[in-house]
Structure formats: C-alpha cells, structure tokens
Subunit: 305 residues, 2 copies
C-alpha cells in the first residue's frame, strides 16, 4: 500500500465524512497529503495527525500537488473551488489531474473537464459510493470516466482510495450518469422503506420482526437493510442526511425533465424527502423520512434507547 | 423427508406455477397428494405423475384429506373455493386444517378463519414467497399466523413445502399483513428498477454495465437483481405477471386508504403497473414496466436474442 504514493503529493479539498477518510487512506497509501477544508479546525486536525503544517487555503494545498481530489457537496461548490475566485485551477501545475468526486449532472462534469483542459489540466469524472466507513478504509467504489490519459495518471490515487474501480468510458459525464442512476434507486428505496415500515407499524406489526422477514424476502433492498436499523433504534444521527437526497433526486428530476423522460416513482420519493426537510429534518439522517410518515399519521416509532 | 407425510393425505387446490411445485414437494415429502386445478389437463398431469386417479372436483380432492392447501390467485377465489357453491369447507372432515396461501388483505384472512371455525375447521394464514423454482424445491418462505392448534397441525405440511417458516403470531391476518408490506416494497422496487434502467438507456449508458454497477452498489434491490436480466435479454415470458402487482399494490392501496395512511411512493408504482397493463402487457412478465417507460419515451430496449 505505502508504495502507491511514493511520497508524491496529492491535495484533497473537502474534509467531510467522505473526504476526511479518503485523505487518511491516501496518507496510508504513502502519499504526501495536503488537505484543506473551509473549517480551519478540521484542516488543522488532519495536518496535525500527519505532522504537517496546515495549508492556509485551497490554493496553498494544491501547490506542488500532482493530483487534487475534490470532495465537496455539489457541482456549484466544485465549480467555485476549481474555477471561481481563488480557485485552484490557476494554482495547479500543468498536467496535474483533477479527480472530481461530488455527485452532479453529467453535463456539469463535461463542462468542468472542458474548463480544466483550458487550464492545461486533466480531469477525471469519478463519483464515489460506499459511505464514510469505506472511505476511511480505502475501500470505496469509484465510478470513473474520462480521457485515457487522465484515467492512467489517476490510477495510483484511485487504488489508494477504492476497493472497486469501474472504468466506465473515455468521456467525462459517464461516471456522473451512472451515479445519478444509482441515486435514483437509492432515494426511492429509502422512501419506500420508510413508507413500508410505518405502514407495518400502522398494521400493528412488530418492527424488528418486519426487519427480519423483509431482509430475508423479495422486498429487500440495500437501503432497507442499511437504513431501517436507524428507525428500529430511534437513532437519526446523520450518517447521510435528508438534504443529500433532496439534492440528488432534485438533480435526477432536472435531468429527466431536460431529457423529456418521465420519472413518476422518483418524483414521489423526492416529494417525501422535501416534506421531511420542510418539517425541519433536512440535516438529520435520511431514515427520517420514516419520522415524517409517522408524524403525518400520528404513529409512534421507537424512540432512542 | 418422506417420513414427514407418512402416507397421510393432503389436498392442494390451484396448480399454477406455485401450487404445482408445492404439490410435488408434498408428494416428495411422503404425503398422498390429491391435487385439483380448474384446468382438467393440469389436474390429470399431476395425478398421472403420481400414478393416481385425477379428482373430478375440488370437493372430491379434499375427501379424506387432513389438510387442504389453497394456492389460488386472490381472496375472492379463496372465498369461492372454500365457502362458495360447491366449496370444500362442507366436504372437509372436522378438524381438518386449511392452509391459505393466496396474497390478501389481513381482514379477509380473519374473515375466512372465522368462517372456517364455523365449519369446525382450523385455518392457517400462510402466504408464501420465493417463486416457482423454490416452490418446486420445497424451499419456499412461509409467513404463517393463526391459532396455535392450527399452526401445530400444519407443521408437517409446512416443513415439506418451505425452507423458512416464520411463525408470526396467534391471529390470522398477521401473516397476510407481513406479505402486504413485502409486496409494497417488491412492487415499488420493480417499478423503480424499470424507471432507472430506461432512464440509464436514455442517458446513453450500456445497460449490462448498469446492471453490473448497480447490483454492486447501494442502489441495489432483490427485485432489481432478479428482474432486470429479463430487460437485458428482452425476454418478457411471464415468471410473475404485471397483473399480480396491479392486484397486490391495489390491495396495499385499499388497505392504506382504509387505515388513512398515505402511500405516495407505492401509489406511483401502482400507476406504472396499471399503465403497463392498460398497454396490453398485463399477462407478461412484470419487468414489462420497463417496456412501458421505453414505449412512452421512444427508447429502444434490447430485443429477444
């Protein structure tokens, strides 16, 4: 593992639940990691763990880096970080590779790749999947697409971050499109799981038994299995927040409308996430959609232990 | 296995994809199986395979049986078969056990159990899950509820048909409720899988690659994994028909409305099954929902090989 990086420098911008773990995985992979977050205390913590000085800005972080991994919330943040005022595109050395990990519409990924090229930079569209724990373990799934040269240059960085690398095509935007298809399904499955669990409670069923039966039956989904324990435990501490899916199903909705493609099931799910956010739970765990159903219908779900 | 039945007689009524396999599993389990279907050629085929005479009616099939397993399409057929004109309730010996396998609303299961009691019969609410192949292997999942006496008496029959027996409570209707929660999820997941796959095609993605990526990602569901190969192969030969889910999500919709519980996601999925049935595909495989999305939006899906 340590031989991957060989002391070469990679910058990581955005040290949230995913980015922090990815930066740590890269450091473990033998890279010199210059990491920056808009929260100075987070930037400092990561630097101190590596015995380094904390970079004072994103531009400072990328100085001397061969790669920059951007792990911010959305396309607009990615754009501001790369190409806005004080953006890192002007501070990166020519030939450096941008690995863009935020979930976004494919057209934004194509737009950023073209802008990167105008700065003499390579761009890899590489949304990620797997959650915070896998990020910390260097065991993410990466949905990568982009020019073969960008893909080849990014290889050691991808290897240090991911257990599974899908190389999906030579054009930026393909990885983004795969991610949006996944998010459509994931969002619908969380909303359906919430609907089904609270419906089961309304029918008087024992919810732990429902979890046991459904996870062994044809009604199971990855999201049901992963998220419904939060409902059973009454624990809505955010692992992934409601607002992530108001955003991602919103992108799906925009893309589908733009393509004149109807998505009635995803649209119903989006409305449930919006209602949950509107009810003040946007920053809570996305299993909070179940609390919305329960609250609307006057049903008691398990509380915290 | 053969010791389970000890030559005792069980009747099976309804020899569709599930019932035929269940009857065969019971025969393999050492039971004398008197099986009947409204299609005389199917009744004859099963009887001949066992070297028996074909019963001329459902009433004839249950004469001398300690158990009757009903595997018909819905609650109304179950009612007609048990308690209608020429129904088997009057032909069964006192103390015989009805194992009712059709998917139905819990209140119908409770109603049938009460009617059975008036005939001196035991009633087990035991919807099944797992598909035709598992039925043939005696490896179904059974969601059973009912009076302890009915549960105990049904035990050898359940053992011969099922790999997994959930004993969910002492009241009929609980098994039915668990099944409806499962069907809510299963139906939503088929509709969402169809929506996502055709959306992916609209985005220009390679569908086999989409299947590979999604089944390894957080967007996966049991139904996506099981049904989407039908879309990849362009094969809509019915394993389970669209009309099953117009029925089952219809029951969910009725139950939820009756309970004043909102199910917007299941309702959107139900509308997609109804559109697919309205377009003439009701008897085709339920993955045909993908063909509806494709047809509406002028997208070509893979054809048959």
């Amino acid at each position: 593992m340590e031989t991957l990086g060989q002391g070469r420098t990679v910058a990581v911008i955005g040290l949230g639940a995913m980015g922090y773990g990815m930066a740590a995985s890269l450091r473990r992979g033998g890279f010199t990691v210059a990491a920056f977050d808009v929260r100075p205390e987070v930037t400092r913590r990561f630097a101190e763990e590596g015995g380094m000085a904390a970079p004072p800005s994103a531009q400072a972080a990328v100085a001397g880096a061969e790669w920059v991994v951007t792990v911010v919330v959305n396309a607009d943040q990615t754009h501001a970080l790369l190409f806005g005022e004080g953006g890192v595109a002007t501070a990166l050395q020519p030939g450096a590779v941008i690995l863009s990990c935020a979930t976004m519409a494919p057209e934004r990924a194509r737009e950023f790749a073209a802008a990167a090229a105008r700065h003499g930079l390579a761009y890899l569209d590489c949304p990620i999947s797997g959650g915070a724990q896998r990020a910390a373990e260097g065991a993410l799934t990466v949905l990568a697409s982009g020019a073969p040269e960008a893909m080849a240059k990014a290889e050691p960085v991808l290897q240090a971050m991911a257990a599974k690398i899908y190389r999906l095509g030579d054009e930026p935007g393909i990885g983004a499109a795969f991610k949006m298809v996944n998010q459509l399904l994931a969002g619908v499955h969380i909303a359906a799981a919430s609907e089904a669990m609270v419906f089961a409670k309304r029918l008087g069923l024992d919810l732990r038994r429902v979890y046991e039966v459904i996870t062994a039956s044809a009604g199971n989904s990855w999201m049901f299995e992963n998220r419904m324990p939060h409902v059973l435990d009454g624990d809505y501490t955010p692992r992934s927040a409601v607002d992530i899916f108001t955003k991602d199903l919103g992108i799906v909705s925009d893309m589908a409308r733009g393509a004149k493609f109807p998505t009635p099931v995803a649209s119903a799910a989006l409305q449930m996430f919006l209602m949950t956010a509107a009810a003040g739970m946007g920053r809570d765990d996305d299993a909070s959609v179940a609390r919305l159903y329960a609250s609307v219908s006057g049903i008691d779900l398990p509380g915290p232990p």
